[in-house]
Amino acid sequence: MILGLITFFIFEQGLPLIWKIGPRAFILGERWVPSQGSFGILPMIVSSFWVTIGALALGIPLGLACTIFLCEWSPPSVGMVLRPAIQLLAAIPSVIYGFWGLIVLVPLVRNYLGGPGLSILSGSMILGFMILPTIISISEDSLNALPPSYKQGALALGATHWQAIWRVLIPAARSGIVTSIILGMGRAVGETMAMIMILGNAVKMPTSFLDSARTLTTNIGIEMGYASGAHRQALFATGVVLFIIIMLLNSLAIFLSRRRAG
């Protein structure tokens, strides 16, 4: 019901503008100058894409490593500390991450790698951490749900513990792990506040990981405060695009987890 309302109102506000300037011009346009009435969101889509890829590049290996660590190798005492710590990671407000990125990561990147510091690289690093809890908790569930006989069988065949994990357990839990990654992607695409603080918000095509950028979400977050008329509609239209991307990711995740359960 609420989902329906949300869909209805956002589409109602956003679609007229998309039709007016044409979906192609809106999605593939490279210029975003609201005062001149030109609304193209391609740079933001590209930025969102790269930030998400960057976040996954950090989040997947770290997340998987933590999962394997938690399920298979951690001494119980370490696990007792790590598990609540990861839940806490999920509970920290995103503005806190953004702030930390701004005062610690951004100067680091600026001093050692050059560029403005407010960049896709800094944003991806923070996002990578923010999506860890999602990836870890869901893939841990799917590893724990495997029958113990898988591992016993592998070990009985003479595999080392690592071979059992890498060749048997991970492939068997694949669908759960993929689901967790997709949900993490959804979170990364949708994150707003931390990204406003770290990305620098320049409206242009990003050319390298050290460029400042603006994603779909931050575009809405920054300009919504003072937009009106066609400009506001354009922001809602940005929301429509974002909403469609998220819904596709969600449906994919739900479909995958259903298939696993069924």
């Binding site: 506000q13 770290l62 951690s74 920290i92 702030f99 919504m224």
Partner: protein, 279 residues
Amino acid sequence: MLLRTRYLTQGIAKVLIWIAALSTIAVMILILLQILAEGLPILHLRFFLESPREMGREGGIFPTIIGTVALTAVAILFATPLGVGTAIFLREYTRESHISRIIRFGTDCLAGVPSIIFGLFGFVFFVIYLNMGWSILSGGLTLAAMILPTIISTAEEAIKAIPYSYREVSYSLGGTKWQTVIRAILPNALPGIFTGIILGVGRSIGETAAIILTAGSSLVMPTSLFSPIRTMSIHFYILAREGISMDMAYGTGAALILLVLLINTVAHWLLNRYIRHRV
């Protein structure tokens, strides 16, 4: 030889995974420590009880605390009955059918919708369409929609965990469906439901994007449900982003972290106690 390579691989993998896991914890501790170390010295009683002066450069954060509490209260008040009701409906009144599948798909999707989209929705629907303006009520209702999935899923888990015999005993004593739900199921599911509410509170406190679009960011003391407010996390965001005062930002950040830590610990403790109680 072959055997040795296998153990070598295992050794390398083990080292890498230990490094990854430990560095994750290290970064987390670093984030928390940095903000707490800079922020804790600022946290005096006066910081909590005074109103901010000069846009937040001086003074305290009292109105933002009130704002946070009011907003969270509104959100919980609306989301709890709705969420628990949905959970009971899903578990007790329907079998797996088209309706329940649609509801479940809806809540799953709702859980993944980013907060900025909730903000846009709240802005058009509550602020403009229902003409509530930037207010506690619009912000609270938007938040309620956001935390609904959490409350539904934890309440559903709690109800699912109740042994079937409870229901059978209630029916055999001549209880109606309604009496069974109210007298046998709800009391036993209460700790689980409570956990969901606390998780929802945690999310409300940390939320920024959705609220800044629906509850405004005014620094005055709220007087009614229809006054605009600024929550602690929005205050923190504005202080930090516009560079108004780093000291005050650290202070607010530290207060936020402490609050979230506290809430999480309570939720964790409840959850553990509940699980042990069940087993």
